[in-house]
C-alpha cells in the first residue's frame, strides 16, 4: 500500500554495478565468516574478495566504455560518467592488489573473513562516493567507506599501535566528516539546493555563507586526501594500521578523495573558481612543504611513505588548482602510477615486516635489496617513481601536473613542486641507500625463524604494480586518451 504512494525513482542498476558487485562480495564474505570452517576460510575469503574487486573492475570498465555522455541518475543522486568510472576502475584495481597483499598476512584467524568483508565494503563505499552528484550522497559515500576504514585500521588488536591508529583515525576522521557536513549544510542553507549542478545554477557567487560552506567542504575532503594541514592522522594511522590496510588507504582513499574534490569544486562551485583555485594552491604548497620536510626526519619506512603520500596529495592538488581540462587529465593520469607505486611500496614493506616480525625501519631494511632481488628492484622502481624519475609513470605524472599549472598561469606552483621534489630526493634515495649500500657487517642477514616466506601471491601483486608503474611511462598516449575523455565531463 505504502509503496504505491511513494514515487519510486528509476534506478539504473548498471551504473551502480561496480559498487553493488563489491557490496555483494561483502555480504557473501560475512556469510563465509560464519559458515566456512576455519581451515579453508582465509583462502576462500581472499578469493571471494578478489573476485568481488575483479567483478567491480570489469563493471567499471564497461561503465566507462558505455557512458560517453554524462548523465545523472536516481533523482540527481549519482553521476554516470567517465570521470567516476575511471576512478572506479582504479579503486577496484587497488582493492584487487590489496587482496593479493593481504593474502598471507598473519591475521587472527577468527577475523579473516570480516577483514575482507570490510575491505570490499570500503571499496563499495568509494565506488559509490566517486559517483556522488549531490551533497547527501557525497556525505553518505564518505561515511560509508570511512567507517569501514576505521575498523580496518584497528582490526589487528595484537599489533602494537593498530588500535591507537584506528582511534586516531576515527576521531580526526569524524572531525573531517563533521566539517564536510557542516559545510554542506551552509551551502544548502544558502542555495536551497543539494545537487551539484543546481548549486552552480543557483549562482550565489561570493556570498559569505556559501564561501564558508565551500571552505569547509574543501577542508572535509582534504582530511580524506590527507593534504596538509589536515593530514595529522596520516602518519600515525599509516604506521599503526596493518600494512595491507595502509596500502589500500594510501591508494584507494586518495583516488576517491581527490577525484571527488575536483568534481565538487568544478561542478558545484564554478563561480567561485577564482577563490578555490588559490585555496587549493595554498593547500598544495603546504602539503608539499610539510610532507617532504616531515619525511626527512623519519626512520620508520611506513612513516616515510605516509609523509610522502601527504606530499603527493600536494602534487595532485596542483592539478586541481590548475582548474582546466589539462589539470583533470593530469590528475586522472597521475593517479594511475601513483596508486601502483603506493600499493607496491607498502607491499614490499609488508614483505620485510613478515620476515622480521618488527616494524620496518631504514636500519633493518639493510641488505634487503641483495637478499630479495625482485622485491629490491621493485622497491627501487617505486621510490624512483615517487621521486618522479624517468622510466616510471611518476615522471610523466609530474610533468603533466606542472604543465597544467603553467597552462593556467600558475608557474609558481612549478617552482614549489620542483623544490619539493629536490627535498624528496633525500629520503626516497635514502630507501635505496638503506637497501643496497650498507656494508656486509651491518646486514641483518638471517631473519628470525628460518628462511623468509616465498610470498608468491604478494609477488604477483608487486609485479602488477611494477608493470603499471613502468608501463604508464611508455604507454602515455592511450592512458591520456582515457583520462582526457574522463576529464571532458568536468565543466572547465
Amino acid at each position: 500500500m505504502i509503496l504505491a504512494v511513494i514515487n519510486k525513482p528509476h534506478v539504473d542498476w548498471f551504473a551502480l554495478a561496480p559498487s553493488l558487485a563489491l557490496l555483494t562480495a561483502a555480504g557473501v564474505l560475512l556469510m563465509v565468516a560464519v559458515f566456512v570452517p576455519r581451515k579453508p576460510r582465509a583462502a576462500v575469503a581472499a578469493s571471494l574478495a578478489f573476485a568481488g574487486f575483479a567483478a567491480s573492475l570489469v563493471w567499471a570498465v564497461l561503465l566507462d566504455v558505455k557512458s560517453p555522455h554524462a548523465t545523472t541518475l536516481v533523482h540527481d543522486a549519482i553521476f554516470r560518467d567517465r570521470w567516476a568510472a575511471l576512478a572506479q576502475v582504479l579503486i577496484a584495481g587497488s582493492g584487487a592488489v590489496t587482496v593479493l597483499i593481504s593474502a598471507r598476512e598473519r591475521w587472527r584467524e577468527e577475523h579473516v573473513a570480516e577483514y575482507y568483508a570490510l575491505l570490499t565494503a570500503a571499496g563499495a563505499g568509494m565506488a559509490f562516493f566517486v559517483q556522488a552528484s549531490n551533497l547527501m550522497t557525497l556525505f553518505l559515500g564518505l561515511e560509508w567507506f570511512s567507517i569501514a576504514l576505521y575498523v580496518l585500521s584497528a582490526i589487528d588488536i595484537d599489533l602494537i599501535g593498530s588500535l591507537e591508529a584506528g582511534l586516531k583515525y576515527l576521531i580526526i576522521g569524524a572531525v573531517g566528516s563533521a566539517t564536510l557536513l557542516f559545510g554542506s549544510a551552509l551551502v544548502y542553507g544558502e542555495t536551497g539546493q543539494l545537487s551539484f549542478d543546481r548549486i552552480a545554477a543557483a549562482g550565489h557567487g561570493h556570498d559569505a555563507m556559501l564561501v564558508v560552506g565551500l571552505a569547509m567542504i574543501i577542508a572535509g575532503l582534504a582530511f580524506k586526501s590527507s593534504a596538509a594541514p589536515f593530514h595529522m592522522w596520516t602518519p600515525d594511522a599509516y604506521q599503526g594500521a596493518p600494512t595491507p590496510v595502509t596500502a589500500f588507504m594510501s591508494s584507494a582513499t586518495k583516488i576517491a578523495a581527490l577525484v571527488v574534490t575536483y568534481r565538487v569544486l568544478a561542478t558545484a562551485f564554478p563561480h567561485d573558481q577564482s577563490l578555490w583555485r588559490y585555496a587549493i594552491a595554498v593547500i598544495a604548497c603546504i602539503s608539499l612543504a610539510w610532507g617532504n620536510i616531515g619525511a626527512l626526519v623519519q626512520r620508520n619506512v611506513k612513516r616515510i611513505f605516509a609523509y610522502s603520500s601527504v606530499s603527493h596529495a600536494g602534487f595532485m592538488l596542483i592539478a586541481v588548482a590548475a582548474a582546466n581540462q589539462l589539470g583533470g587529465r593530469a590528475l586522472q593520469y597521475y593517479l594511475i602510477p601513483y596508486a601502483a607505486m603506493s600499493l607496491g611500496a607498502f607491499a614490499i614493506v609488508a614483505v620485510r615486516e613478515r620476515e622480521l616480525g618488527v616494524p620496518v625501519t631504514l636500519e633493518n631494511l639493510a641488505g634487503f635489496g641483495w637478499e630479495r632481488p625482485f622485491f629490491g628492484v621493485a622497491m627501487w622502481v617505486f621510490v624512483l617513481g615517487f621521486l618522479g624519475f624517468p622510466l616510471t609513470g611518476g615522471f610523466i605524472g609530474k610533468f603533466y601536473v606542472f604543465a597544467a599549472a603553467y597552462d593556467h598561469g600558475m608557474w609558481w606552483l612549478i617552482v614549489a613542486g620542483v623544490i619539493a621534489t629536490m627535498i624528496s630526493a633525500y629520503y626516497y634515495l635514502g630507501v635505496v641507500r638503506a637497501m643496497y649500500f650498507r656494508d656486509a657487517a651491518e646486514l641483518q642477514l638471517a631473519p628470525a625463524g628460518g628462511s623468509p616466506p616465498r610470498e608468491l601471491v604478494l609477488g604477483i601483486g608487486v609485479a602488477i604494480c611494477l608493470v603499471v608503474t613502468v608501463g604508464s611511462f611508455f604507454a602515455v598516449q592511450p592512458l591520456i586518451d582515457v583520462a582526457r575523455s574522463a576529464a571532458r565531463v568536468l565543466p572547465l
Binding site: P390, L391, F399, A403, Y406, I414, M422, Y436, Q477
Partner: protein, 484 residues
C-alpha cells in the same frame, strides 16, 4: 634499416642489461656477456659511422614517433656529426670500462654489469635525443645507475659522496625540468629540431645551471672530489670521461643553440667562469696529493677549456670543443683506469707512497708516459690540436681569454709531468712492493685501444674537427638552432 641505427645504439645496451639481470649464469659469464654486448655496441657504432654522410649538416639516422600528442612530445632520436663522435667516444670508453670491471672481477656481478650497460644506453640516449623531454628522461636515467654504482662498489666514503653527487645533480636537473616545461609549452612542441629560439634569461639559466653542474664548471664542482675519489676506478672513468660530456653537449645543443641572444648577454660571465675553472682546476691538479686528484681536477680544467671553445662563437671554437670533448673523454678514462690498476698493486694513489714504478715495468711506464704526454698537449698530439683550435677560436672574443688558455697549457704540462714522474720515477715508494707486476694482458687490452684511438687522432685530428658539423658551417648552423 638506416633510421633504426640510433635506436639500436640506445636499445642494445639496455636490452643487454635486462638479459644480464635475469640470465642464469655465474658472475664471470655475466661479465663476459656484458663485455660482448659493449663490443657489439662499438661494432654498431662503426657501422653507423661508415654510413654517415659527413658533408651533410642535417640530422641523420633519425626516427620520430609521437609519444603523447596533446603536449606534442615525441620519441625523436637522431645524430648530427658531432653527436656521432660523442656517441663513438661513449661506446669505446664504456666498452673499456665494462671490460675492466669484468677483468677486475667486481662482486655482485649481475647488478654491476646490468647497471654499466644501463648507463651506456642512457648516455647514448642523451647524445641522440632530439626531443627535449626525451633528453631530460635520458639525462635523469643516467643518474640512477651511477648513484648505485658509486654507492655499492665505491670506497669507504661513498655514502657522503653519493649524497653530495645526487643533491648537486638533482637540484640542477630539476631546475632544468622546470625550464623544459615552460620552454616546451611556450613553443608548442618539445621537438628540438622544431623549437625556435627563445629570449628568456630565466629559461637559459635553468639549462645552464644543470649543465654547469654536470660538466662541472666552477663554482658548481663541489660534488666532484667525493664522487671521483670514492667511485671504483672504471666508474670514475665513466663519470669524467663520458658523463661530464653530457653537460657540455647540452650546453652546445640547447643552451647555446636555442638561446643565441641570451648567450650574447651572458657570454662574458660564462667566459670568466670557464677561465676560472681552467686556471683553478689546473692549479688544484698541480697541488693534488694523489693520482685521482690530478685527473679529476684536470677534468675540471678541461671542462673550462671546452666551454671557452663553445663560447668562442666561431667555427674554430666549436670544432675544437668537439675534438677536445672526445680527446678528454678518452684521456681521462684511460688515466682513471690506470689509477685503478696502480691502486690494485699498491692499494693507494698517494704520490707520497708511490714512485719508481717504471723500473722493471716497461708496459706500465710506456702507457702512462704516452698518455701523460698527450695530456700535456705536446705539439703533434691530438689534444694540442684541440686546444689550439679552441684558443685560436676564443682569440676572436678577446686576446685575454686566449692568453689565459695558453697560460693554462703551461700548467697542464706541470701537472701532467708531476703525475708521471711521481708514479714512475724517483725512488721506489714505500707502498710499491717489488712484487708488484707490470700491466697484465687484460689490462693492456683495456688501455691500449684507448691509447691507439688517441694516437690515431693525433695523426689525423681533422677526422673529428673537420667532420663535426657537416661542411665547416659550425657557427651558422648552431646559430640557426641546429634546425633544418
Amino acid at each position: 634499416m638506416q633510421h633504426w641505427l640510433t635506436t639500436i645504439l640506445i636499445v642494445l645496451p639496455v636490452a643487454g642489461a635486462l638479459v644480464v639481470a635475469v640470465a642464469p649464469f655465474p658472475g664471470y659469464w655475466l661479465g663476459s656477456l656484458a663485455a660482448l654486448v659493449s663490443l657489439v655496441e662499438v661494432g654498431v657504432w662503426i657501422t653507423a659511422a661508415s654510413k654517415f654522410s659527413f658533408g651533410d649538416p642535417a640530422l641523420q639516422f633519425s626516427q620520430n614517433h609521437a609519444w603523447f600528442s596533446d603536449l606534442h612530445v615525441s620519441y625523436h632520436v637522431g645524430q648530427y656529426a658531432f653527436s656521432l663522435w660523442l656517441v663513438g667516444m661513449t661506446v669505446v670508453v664504456m666498452a673499456a670500462c665494462t671490460i675492466y670491471g669484468w677483468w677486475a672481477g667486481r662482486d655482485r656481478a649481475r647488478a654491476y654489469f646490468a647497471l654499466m650497460l644501463l648507463t651506456t644506453g642512457a648516455i647514448v640516449g642523451v647524445f641522440t635525443a632530439q626531443d627535449l623531454l626525451l633528453f631530460y628522461a635520458f639525462f635523469e636515467a643516467m643518474l640512477i645507475p651511477l648513484y648505485v654504482l658509486i654507492g655499492v662498489w665505491g670506497g669507504a666514503g661513498r655514502m657522503r659522496a653519493t649524497l653530495t653527487f645526487v643533491i648537486y645533480t638533482v637540484v640542477g636537473s630539476l631546475l632544468m625540468l622546470a625550464a623544459i616545461i615552460v620552454y616546451g609549452l611556450q613553443q608548442g612542441t618539445f621537438d628540438l629540431t622544431r623549437m625556435g629560439p627563445s629570449d628568456s634569461t630565466w629559461l637559459f639559466l635553468g639549462f645552464v645551471f644543470a649543465f654547469a653542474i654536470k660538466s662541472p664548471l666552477f663554482p658548481f664542482h663541489g660534488w666532484l672530489p667525493g664522487a671521483y675519489r670514492e667511485s671504483p676506478p672504471e666508474v670514475s672513468a665513466v663519470l669524467s670521461g663520458v658523463v661530464s660530456k653530457a653537460g657540455l653537449y647540452g650546453l652546445l645543443r640547447i643552451a647555446i643553440a636555442k638561446f643565441p641572444n641570451v648567450v650574447d648577454d651572458w657570454r662574458v660571465v660564462l667566459l670568466v667562469l670557464a677561465s676560472i675553472s681552467l686556471v683553478y682546476g689546473s692549479l688544484l691538479a698541480f697541488r693534488a696529493p694523489d693520482f685521482r686528484g690530478v685527473v679529476m681536477y684536470s677534468s675540471l680544467a678541461q671542462s673550462g677549456l671546452i666551454v671557452l671553445g663553445l663560447l668562442a662563437n666561431n667555427d674554430l671554437g666549436f670544432e675544437g670543443a668537439v675534438l677536445q670533448m672526445v680527446n678528454h673523454g678518452l684521456i681521462s678514462a684511460a688515466l682513471f683506469l690506470i689509477a685503478g690498476m696502480i691502486e690494485r698493486r699498491t692499494s693507494t694513489g698517494e704520490f707520497a707512497l708511490l714512485g719508481g714504478m717504471a723500473r722493471g715495468r716497461p708496459a706500465l711506464s710506456t702507457v702512462l708516459m704516452t698518455i701523460g704526454i698527450i695530456t700535456l698537449a705536446v705539439p703533434l698530439s691530438t689534444s694540442f690540436a684541440g686546444e689550439f683550435l679552441i684558443l685560436a677560436g676564443v682569440f676572436t672574443q678577446g686576446w685575454a681569454w686566449a692568453a689565459i688558455g695558453a697560460g693554462a697549457m703551461v700548467l697542464a704540462a706541470m701537472y701532467a709531468l708531476r703525475l708521471v714522474s711521481a708514479v714512475l720515477h724517483r725512488d721506489t715508494g714505500p707502498a710499491v712492493p717489488d712484487s708488484a707486476l707490470d700491466l697484465r694482458l687484460g689490462e693492456l687490452a683495456v688501455v691500449v685501444p684507448l691509447l691507439l684511438c688517441l694516437v690515431g687522432l693525433s695523426a689525423w685530428p681533422n677526422l673529428i674537427s673537420g667532420h663535426a658539423f657537416g661542411g665547416n658551417h659550425a657557427q651558422s648552423s648552431i646559430n640557426r638552432g641546429l634546425s633544418p
